[in-house]
Symmetry: C3
Subunit: 105 residues, 3 copies
Protein backbone atom coordinates (compact mmCIF):
# COMPACT_ATOMS: atom_id res chain seq x y z
CA UNK A 1 0.00 0.00 0.00
CA UNK A 2 2.87 2.40 0.81
CA UNK A 3 6.02 2.56 -1.31
CA UNK A 4 9.27 4.45 -0.76
CA UNK A 5 9.72 7.43 -3.04
CA UNK A 6 11.76 10.60 -3.33
CA UNK A 7 10.38 14.12 -3.49
CA UNK A 8 12.55 16.69 -5.25
CA UNK A 9 11.85 20.30 -4.27
CA UNK A 10 13.08 23.08 -6.55
CA UNK A 11 12.55 26.75 -5.69
CA UNK A 12 12.97 29.14 -8.59
CA UNK A 13 12.10 32.65 -9.66
CA UNK A 14 8.89 32.95 -11.67
CA UNK A 15 10.58 33.42 -15.03
CA UNK A 16 12.49 30.14 -14.61
CA UNK A 17 9.55 27.96 -13.61
CA UNK A 18 8.56 26.92 -17.10
CA UNK A 19 12.11 25.76 -17.74
CA UNK A 20 12.13 23.85 -14.44
CA UNK A 21 8.92 22.09 -15.47
CA UNK A 22 10.28 21.31 -18.95
CA UNK A 23 13.42 19.85 -17.41
CA UNK A 24 11.34 17.63 -15.09
CA UNK A 25 9.41 16.31 -18.07
CA UNK A 26 12.61 15.80 -20.07
CA UNK A 27 13.92 13.68 -17.18
CA UNK A 28 10.76 11.57 -17.20
CA UNK A 29 8.94 13.17 -14.27
CA UNK A 30 5.21 12.39 -14.38
CA UNK A 31 3.92 15.66 -12.93
CA UNK A 32 4.69 18.32 -10.38
CA UNK A 33 3.08 20.58 -7.82
CA UNK A 34 3.59 24.34 -7.81
CA UNK A 35 3.35 26.57 -4.73
CA UNK A 36 3.83 30.36 -4.60
CA UNK A 37 6.63 31.20 -2.16
CA UNK A 38 8.84 34.08 -1.16
CA UNK A 39 11.79 34.35 1.12
CA UNK A 40 15.23 35.57 1.88
CA UNK A 41 18.48 34.06 0.76
CA UNK A 42 16.83 32.46 -2.25
CA UNK A 43 18.69 34.68 -4.67
CA UNK A 44 22.20 36.01 -4.66
CA UNK A 45 21.49 38.47 -7.46
CA UNK A 46 19.17 40.94 -5.79
CA UNK A 47 19.34 40.20 -2.09
CA UNK A 48 17.55 42.73 0.04
CA UNK A 49 17.48 43.46 3.71
CA UNK A 50 13.87 44.62 3.64
CA UNK A 51 12.25 41.83 5.57
CA UNK A 52 8.74 43.32 5.36
CA UNK A 53 8.84 43.32 1.57
CA UNK A 54 9.93 39.73 1.48
CA UNK A 55 7.11 38.69 3.76
CA UNK A 56 4.64 40.25 1.34
CA UNK A 57 6.05 39.25 -2.01
CA UNK A 58 5.74 35.68 -3.27
CA UNK A 59 8.07 36.12 -6.21
CA UNK A 60 9.30 32.53 -6.39
CA UNK A 61 7.61 29.24 -7.02
CA UNK A 62 8.28 25.95 -5.35
CA UNK A 63 8.13 23.01 -7.74
CA UNK A 64 7.80 19.55 -6.22
CA UNK A 65 8.13 16.31 -8.15
CA UNK A 66 7.75 12.82 -6.72
CA UNK A 67 9.32 9.71 -8.17
CA UNK A 68 9.84 6.14 -6.99
CA UNK A 69 13.07 6.13 -9.00
CA UNK A 70 15.84 7.56 -6.82
CA UNK A 71 18.24 7.89 -9.76
CA UNK A 72 15.67 9.97 -11.62
CA UNK A 73 15.31 12.27 -8.59
CA UNK A 74 19.07 12.80 -8.46
CA UNK A 75 19.20 13.42 -12.21
CA UNK A 76 16.52 16.13 -11.96
CA UNK A 77 18.41 17.83 -9.11
CA UNK A 78 21.75 17.58 -10.85
CA UNK A 79 20.52 18.88 -14.20
CA UNK A 80 18.58 21.74 -12.59
CA UNK A 81 21.71 22.87 -10.78
CA UNK A 82 23.87 22.63 -13.85
CA UNK A 83 21.47 23.91 -16.51
CA UNK A 84 19.27 26.39 -14.64
CA UNK A 85 20.70 27.41 -11.29
CA UNK A 86 24.31 28.08 -12.21
CA UNK A 87 23.45 31.55 -13.42
CA UNK A 88 20.18 31.98 -11.54
CA UNK A 89 19.25 31.65 -7.90
CA UNK A 90 17.46 28.56 -6.66
CA UNK A 91 17.23 25.91 -4.01
CA UNK A 92 17.14 22.16 -4.61
CA UNK A 93 16.65 19.41 -2.06
CA UNK A 94 15.47 15.82 -1.76
CA UNK A 95 13.21 14.17 0.81
CA UNK A 96 12.38 10.52 1.40
CA UNK A 97 8.64 9.96 1.44
CA UNK A 98 6.14 7.13 1.10
CA UNK A 99 3.48 7.13 -1.61
CA UNK A 100 0.26 5.32 -2.25
CA UNK A 101 -0.65 4.34 -5.83
CA UNK A 102 2.92 3.66 -6.91
CA UNK A 103 1.94 3.43 -10.58
CA UNK A 104 1.24 7.16 -10.67
CA UNK A 105 4.80 8.28 -9.88
CA UNK B 1 11.79 17.70 23.29
CA UNK B 2 11.46 16.18 19.79
CA UNK B 3 9.16 13.27 19.06
CA UNK B 4 8.76 11.15 15.92
CA UNK B 5 5.58 11.87 13.98
CA UNK B 6 4.09 11.37 10.54
CA UNK B 7 2.90 14.09 8.18
CA UNK B 8 0.22 13.11 5.69
CA UNK B 9 0.01 15.33 2.61
CA UNK B 10 -3.15 15.24 0.51
CA UNK B 11 -3.50 17.33 -2.65
CA UNK B 12 -7.06 17.78 -3.88
CA UNK B 13 -9.12 19.98 -6.14
CA UNK B 14 -10.83 22.88 -4.37
CA UNK B 15 -14.29 21.35 -4.33
CA UNK B 16 -12.99 18.25 -2.51
CA UNK B 17 -11.07 20.05 0.22
CA UNK B 18 -13.94 20.27 2.68
CA UNK B 19 -14.46 16.54 2.39
CA UNK B 20 -10.74 15.93 2.90
CA UNK B 21 -10.84 18.02 6.08
CA UNK B 22 -13.98 16.25 7.32
CA UNK B 23 -12.32 12.88 6.73
CA UNK B 24 -9.23 13.97 8.69
CA UNK B 25 -11.44 14.97 11.60
CA UNK B 26 -13.43 11.74 11.37
CA UNK B 27 -10.12 9.83 11.64
CA UNK B 28 -9.20 11.80 14.77
CA UNK B 29 -6.80 14.32 13.20
CA UNK B 30 -6.32 17.35 15.45
CA UNK B 31 -5.89 20.00 12.73
CA UNK B 32 -4.45 20.57 9.33
CA UNK B 33 -2.63 23.15 7.25
CA UNK B 34 -3.90 24.29 3.85
CA UNK B 35 -1.72 25.64 1.05
CA UNK B 36 -2.90 26.80 -2.40
CA UNK B 37 -1.12 24.79 -5.10
CA UNK B 38 -1.32 24.09 -8.79
CA UNK B 39 0.47 21.68 -11.04
CA UNK B 40 0.49 19.12 -13.75
CA UNK B 41 -0.36 15.47 -13.45
CA UNK B 42 -2.51 16.11 -10.41
CA UNK B 43 -5.67 15.24 -12.28
CA UNK B 44 -6.37 12.65 -14.92
CA UNK B 45 -9.74 14.19 -15.76
CA UNK B 46 -8.76 17.44 -17.41
CA UNK B 47 -5.08 17.19 -18.11
CA UNK B 48 -3.75 20.01 -20.22
CA UNK B 49 -0.54 20.61 -22.05
CA UNK B 50 -0.69 24.35 -21.48
CA UNK B 51 2.15 24.75 -19.04
CA UNK B 52 1.77 28.52 -18.73
CA UNK B 53 -1.80 28.20 -17.49
CA UNK B 54 -0.81 25.67 -14.89
CA UNK B 55 1.94 27.90 -13.60
CA UNK B 56 -0.59 30.65 -13.04
CA UNK B 57 -3.57 28.75 -11.68
CA UNK B 58 -3.57 27.43 -8.13
CA UNK B 59 -6.67 25.31 -8.51
CA UNK B 60 -5.77 22.67 -5.92
CA UNK B 61 -5.13 22.76 -2.22
CA UNK B 62 -2.52 20.86 -0.30
CA UNK B 63 -3.81 19.62 3.05
CA UNK B 64 -1.21 18.53 5.60
CA UNK B 65 -2.00 16.76 8.84
CA UNK B 66 0.53 15.71 11.46
CA UNK B 67 0.05 12.86 13.92
CA UNK B 68 2.28 10.97 16.33
CA UNK B 69 0.10 7.91 15.65
CA UNK B 70 1.45 6.17 12.56
CA UNK B 71 -1.64 3.95 12.26
CA UNK B 72 -3.84 7.04 12.19
CA UNK B 73 -1.73 8.52 9.40
CA UNK B 74 -2.10 5.37 7.33
CA UNK B 75 -5.83 5.27 8.00
CA UNK B 76 -6.26 8.84 6.74
CA UNK B 77 -4.29 8.04 3.57
CA UNK B 78 -6.14 4.80 2.96
CA UNK B 79 -9.62 6.24 3.51
CA UNK B 80 -8.87 9.31 1.37
CA UNK B 81 -7.79 7.09 -1.51
CA UNK B 82 -10.82 4.83 -1.20
CA UNK B 83 -13.52 7.37 -0.38
CA UNK B 84 -12.37 10.53 -2.17
CA UNK B 85 -9.68 9.88 -4.75
CA UNK B 86 -11.08 6.84 -6.54
CA UNK B 87 -13.30 9.02 -8.68
CA UNK B 88 -11.38 12.25 -8.32
CA UNK B 89 -7.78 13.21 -8.86
CA UNK B 90 -5.44 13.60 -5.93
CA UNK B 91 -2.06 12.85 -4.46
CA UNK B 92 -1.39 11.30 -1.06
CA UNK B 93 1.95 10.74 0.62
CA UNK B 94 3.53 10.30 4.04
CA UNK B 95 6.69 11.82 5.53
CA UNK B 96 8.51 11.06 8.76
CA UNK B 97 9.06 14.20 10.78
CA UNK B 98 9.89 15.24 14.35
CA UNK B 99 7.58 17.46 16.35
CA UNK B 100 7.87 19.59 19.43
CA UNK B 101 4.92 19.76 21.85
CA UNK B 102 3.81 16.18 21.30
CA UNK B 103 0.51 16.75 23.11
CA UNK B 104 -0.73 18.96 20.30
CA UNK B 105 -0.68 16.28 17.59
CA UNK C 1 26.78 16.04 -4.38
CA UNK C 2 24.01 15.44 -1.82
CA UNK C 3 24.50 16.24 1.87
CA UNK C 4 22.27 15.50 4.88
CA UNK C 5 20.50 18.56 6.24
CA UNK C 6 17.58 19.47 8.46
CA UNK C 7 14.58 21.55 7.45
CA UNK C 8 12.79 23.40 10.23
CA UNK C 9 9.19 24.35 9.48
CA UNK C 10 7.52 27.03 11.58
CA UNK C 11 3.90 28.04 11.01
CA UNK C 12 2.92 31.36 12.55
CA UNK C 13 0.26 34.03 12.31
CA UNK C 14 1.12 36.91 9.96
CA UNK C 15 1.97 39.40 12.72
CA UNK C 16 4.58 37.02 14.17
CA UNK C 17 6.38 36.21 10.93
CA UNK C 18 8.88 39.05 11.09
CA UNK C 19 9.89 37.93 14.57
CA UNK C 20 10.22 34.33 13.37
CA UNK C 21 12.53 35.50 10.58
CA UNK C 22 14.56 37.67 12.97
CA UNK C 23 14.97 34.70 15.32
CA UNK C 24 16.17 32.48 12.46
CA UNK C 25 18.79 35.08 11.56
CA UNK C 26 19.81 35.50 15.19
CA UNK C 27 20.40 31.73 15.33
CA UNK C 28 22.59 31.90 12.23
CA UNK C 29 20.08 30.71 9.62
CA UNK C 30 21.16 31.72 6.11
CA UNK C 31 17.70 32.29 4.61
CA UNK C 32 14.17 31.01 4.66
CA UNK C 33 11.20 30.33 2.42
CA UNK C 34 7.75 31.75 3.13
CA UNK C 35 4.46 30.19 2.02
CA UNK C 36 0.96 31.52 2.68
CA UNK C 37 -1.07 28.90 4.55
CA UNK C 38 -4.31 28.54 6.46
CA UNK C 39 -5.76 25.78 8.51
CA UNK C 40 -7.50 24.50 11.54
CA UNK C 41 -5.96 23.75 14.89
CA UNK C 42 -3.10 26.12 14.23
CA UNK C 43 -4.26 28.48 16.94
CA UNK C 44 -5.79 27.83 20.32
CA UNK C 45 -6.84 31.47 20.70
CA UNK C 46 -9.56 31.85 18.11
CA UNK C 47 -10.50 28.38 16.99
CA UNK C 48 -13.50 28.27 14.73
CA UNK C 49 -15.69 25.53 13.42
CA UNK C 50 -16.32 27.30 10.15
CA UNK C 51 -14.43 25.04 7.84
CA UNK C 52 -15.34 26.99 4.70
CA UNK C 53 -13.78 30.16 6.07
CA UNK C 54 -10.60 28.37 6.92
CA UNK C 55 -10.35 26.92 3.47
CA UNK C 56 -10.50 30.42 2.02
CA UNK C 57 -8.35 32.39 4.44
CA UNK C 58 -4.58 32.03 4.33
CA UNK C 59 -3.96 33.91 7.56
CA UNK C 60 -0.74 32.15 8.56
CA UNK C 61 2.64 31.84 6.98
CA UNK C 62 4.86 28.81 6.84
CA UNK C 63 8.52 29.65 7.32
CA UNK C 64 11.04 26.99 6.28
CA UNK C 65 14.74 27.15 7.02
CA UNK C 66 17.33 24.58 5.96
CA UNK C 67 20.61 23.96 7.72
CA UNK C 68 23.30 21.30 7.59
CA UNK C 69 23.86 21.92 11.32
CA UNK C 70 21.41 19.76 13.27
CA UNK C 71 22.13 21.61 16.53
CA UNK C 72 21.26 24.91 14.88
CA UNK C 73 17.95 23.44 13.67
CA UNK C 74 17.08 22.32 17.19
CA UNK C 75 18.07 25.70 18.61
CA UNK C 76 15.76 27.51 16.19
CA UNK C 77 12.86 25.20 17.11
CA UNK C 78 13.52 25.47 20.82
CA UNK C 79 13.87 29.24 20.88
CA UNK C 80 10.78 29.75 18.69
CA UNK C 81 8.71 27.66 21.07
CA UNK C 82 10.02 29.45 24.14
CA UNK C 83 10.20 33.02 22.85
CA UNK C 84 7.37 33.21 20.30
CA UNK C 85 4.92 30.35 20.59
CA UNK C 86 4.38 30.20 24.34
CA UNK C 87 1.82 32.98 24.16
CA UNK C 88 0.94 32.66 20.49
CA UNK C 89 -0.19 29.77 18.35
CA UNK C 90 2.23 28.00 16.08
CA UNK C 91 3.53 24.72 14.81
CA UNK C 92 7.18 23.67 14.69
CA UNK C 93 8.63 20.51 13.20
CA UNK C 94 11.86 19.13 11.77
CA UNK C 95 12.48 17.00 8.66
CA UNK C 96 15.60 15.24 7.46
CA UNK C 97 16.43 16.18 3.89
CA UNK C 98 19.36 16.10 1.48
CA UNK C 99 20.71 19.26 -0.12
CA UNK C 100 22.88 20.10 -3.07
CA UNK C 101 25.37 22.98 -2.79
CA UNK C 102 26.12 22.45 0.91
CA UNK C 103 27.95 25.77 1.20
CA UNK C 104 24.69 27.65 0.80
CA UNK C 105 23.02 26.29 3.96
Amino acid sequence: MLYPATKVTLIAEHFLVERVCALIEACGGHGYTLTPVGGKGLHHLHATSDRATLVEGFDHQQVEVITTDRAKAERIAERALKELFTNHSGVVYLESIEVCRRERF
